[in-house]
């Protein structure tokens, strides 16, 4: 059995200068030296690991605004999006345009179009429009005699003012642009998936090619060049309307002023900027 060292400091009274007599002052000196060494090692390790990252080395954002808050500044343009369900014909052109424009991998979706079919027997069928449209797919054609009413609802990011995806992102990779568009910084995202869980609308996914969180950006790269989002440009019936909410003469402002619109899952308090016309409460 190992014997305990019961040395209590000897008889020097802690006044000696020897380095190994075991007196209390020697112990204190040893402890202080240890702490000094430990601090040096810790700071040295940090300078090789955390500090370069903190100073921007390797993870410099390609979005300057990622480092600040994304609330629109005074004088900045504020974008909005209107989905007019009454106009959508389920052509699927928007889906192909989005996938092509944004290199969205198969199996993932920045936008999709839902079909709601109310049958005369009181049942409801919800499904998604294939990218070729129903006409070009092998989907069975529903007998119109059985249907009371049906409509299409294009879905995309709701660009919430109080976006839960931004709130939960642990590393500031999700942020709001000054124009009110929710974006993901691909150089900062750690791929934890918390934003995917937090989005109430199923609008986010982990891109299997980039391993980043991915989502609809209203084609931010296009709209900042004064172009329309790809889906808006591809829509043959103007069911998707994009524009500036801060301009009362823009088409979106005029249409929102004239027709009743709604947002999805309003009770969650996310305050979406994407508004929907012609939908009922069953659309979530």
């Amino acid at each position: 059995m190992i014997q305990e060292n019961n040395d209590t400091g000897g008889g020097c009274g802690g006044t000696c200068n020897k380095s190994s007599c075991g007196c209390p002052s020697d112990e204190m000196t040893s402890r202080r030296q240890f702490l000094q060494r430990a601090s040096t090692v810790t700071i040295g390790a940090m300078s090789f690991t955390i500090l370069p990252v903190a100073m921007g080395d390797g993870t410099e954002s390609q979005f300057p605004m990622a480092n600040g808050k994304g609330a629109p500044n005074e004088g900045e343009q504020l974008f909005g999006f209107l989905v007019d369900s009454d106009k959508c014909i389920g052509a699927g052109k928007c889906l192909t345009a989005c996938r092509t424009e944004n290199d969205v991998p198969e199996g993932s979706h920045r936008t999709w179009v839902e079909r709601y079919v109310h049958f005369k027997d009181g049942t409801l069928q919800v499904d998604t429009v294939p990218e070729t449209g129903f006409a070009g797919s092998d989907f069975p054609i529903i007998d119109p005699q059985l249907v009371d009413r049906s409509y299409f609802v294009p879905k995309l990011c709701n660009q919430c003012d109080d976006a839960p995806c931004n709130q939960v992102c642990p590393v500031h990779a999700s942020f709001t642009s000054p124009q009110g568009v929710e974006l993901v910084d691909p150089d900062r995202c750690i791929g934890c998936g918390y934003c995917v869980q937090a989005c109430p609308y199923g609008g986010r996914f982990i891109n299997p090619e980039t391993n980043n969180a991915d989502k609809c950006t209203w084609c931010y790269h296009r709209v900042m060049r004064n172009e329309k989002p790809a889906c808006v440009e591809a829509c043959p019936v103007d069911a998707r309307v994009f524009g500036r909410l801060d301009d009362p003469n823009s088409e979106i402002s005029k249409r929102i002023a004239k027709i009743p619109t709604d947002v999805l899952k309003e009770h969650l308090g996310t305050h979406p900027k994407t508004r929907y016309a012609g939908i009922s409460g069953e659309v979530k």
């Binding site: 040395d7 209390p24 409801l124 919800v126 998604t128 939960v168 934890c192 989005c199 609308y201």
Partner: protein, 429 residues
């Protein structure tokens, strides 16, 4: 209005896999084991002395592996440090790095201080490779004086006290991660952090019972009957509270029958019927509840008590894992359309597969095995060595524990009434 199933197109691939089940499971064991060690170190539950060091080292071993499932889950693990470098103050997850680091640091320092006298002794007496290991662990301090011992004891007591709230925050915060997701009605409840916290304590006590009984069996000694019985009592109380809260949450959802209850009831009856109804409730809650009722009877044969308690603890560990599974995976088995369900099967291979999960769960046990080789986890193995705990108990906290922990009063030996050496009741004797 009847509606056919419909799943949002991005929902079929669930974002959080079995690794995110393991993470709260492991941190729960960490927090629970620490609470057990604190019951001895801070609240002076002498009856828990045989497992006090084991609890602390178990907590450290599991804590050291707690980040593994997260790193395996992250799609960009190379950016993991961003969570501390560019933390988002509004994100519940952003606190992880700081809370975990603080807790890990606390555990490392406390364990080091607790075993310092042994480490210094062995650094001075052992030779060869093992001697080098002890000399490294001694961090240059090769002498123990009465003065330094007192400072160590003071620091241990302080760290044990500080560790309780940090352990609670560590695991309560994990529950908050889920409870704060308003998009998910299965998660979004204020009870979630409390449920996670209590079930952490449940899992920690259960793990210690299993480890203690198992390691005693492996060492060929009898487990301390009073200690096992006391842990069974704590486990019984914690299990009752945890299961009550879980049922309360479920009952509240069912009674309210809000808009999402339809999908949640479908989730429970069709997709979680086995993992929730059978495993979590029947096998994991009711069976151990009854077994523990038997185990805590005062005059029960010690061997039967140990068998009942050990079996109950094993079942409780299964219950807590099932609870984590049902929360994490269950919450992703329904689409946010609230109209349809998705399937999840754990793949065998891959970073987030079954094999990786088994390895992650095995590593803390390997670390514990190594710690057992290196440090005296059992009080009988260093009966002649003066433990800082004993002296700390004598010097720093002469008061016995209050009424809140009176459940073990009959098996508790007041610290100040006997010399420390006479309290050592070696199972080997």
């Amino acid at each position: 209005m009847d509606a056919a199933p419909y799943v949002f197109p991005n929902d079929p691939g669930i974002a959080w896999s079995i690794m995110i089940v393991l993470y709260p499971y492991i941190t729960g064991l960490v927090a629970g084991a620490f609470v057990v060690s604190a019951l001895y170190h801070v609240f002076h539950q002498e009856v828990l002395k045989p497992v006090a060091k084991l609890a602390l080292v178990t907590s450290l071993c599991f804590c050291s592996c707690a980040t593994l499932p997260l790193l395996l889950h992250l799609h960009h693990p190379e950016r993991a440090l961003n969570i501390m470098v560019t933390p988002n103050g509004t994100s519940a997850m952003a606190g992880f790095g700081f809370i975990y680091s603080l807790y890990m640091l606390l555990l490392v320092v406390e364990v080091w201080l607790v075993f310092r006298s042994t480490i210094v002794d062995r650094a001075n007496s052992r030779t060869g490779a093992i001697g080098i290991v002890y000399r490294i662990l001694a961090l240059g301090a090769r002498k123990m004086t009465e003065g330094s011992r007192k400072v160590d004891e003071w620091a241990i007591h302080l760290l044990a006290m500080a560790g309780i709230p940090i352990a609670c925050i560590l695991h309560g915060y994990v529950g908050f991660l889920f409870g704060a997701i308003k998009a998910n009605p299965w998660w979004s409840t204020a009870l979630m952090p409390v449920i996670f916290l209590i079930s952490a304590i449940v899992s920690g006590i259960a793990a210690l019972i299993v480890l203690y009984v198992g390691m005693c069996w492996r060492r060929g000694v009898k487990p301390d009957a009073d200690c096992v019985r006391a842990m069974c009592r704590y486990l019984w109380v914690a299990l009752v509270v945890a299961v009550s809260l879980e049922m309360l949450e479920l009952g509240h959802m069912a009674y309210e029958s809000g808009a999402e209850w339809e999908v949640l009831s479908g989730l429970l009856t069709e997709h979680l019927a086995v993992s929730y109804g059978l495993i979590q409730v029947v096998i994991g809650s009711i069976c151990p509840f009854l077994l523990l009722l038997v185990a805590v009877r005062p005059r029960l044969n010690p061997r039967l008590m140990t068998a009942c308690g050990g079996l109950a603890a094993l079942l409780v560990l299964v219950q807590v894992f099932a609870m984590r599974w049902n929360v994490v995976i269950g919450g992703q088995l329904f689409s946010k359309s609230y109209r349809g369900f998705v399937e999840y099967t754990v793949p065998w291979g891959g970073r987030e597969g079954m094999i990786a999960a088994i390895i992650v769960l095995t590593l803390p046990l390997l670390a514990l095995w190594a710690a057992d080789k290196l440090l005296p986890l059992w009080h009988d193995s260093e009966a002649s060595e003066s433990s800082p705990f004993e002296t700390a108990s004598r010097i720093i906290s002469p008061e016995p524990i209050g009424a809140a922990f009176a459940i073990t009063a009959e098996t508790t030996t007041p610290v100040q009434t006997q010399p420390a050496q006479t309290q050592l009741t070696s199972p080997a004797k």
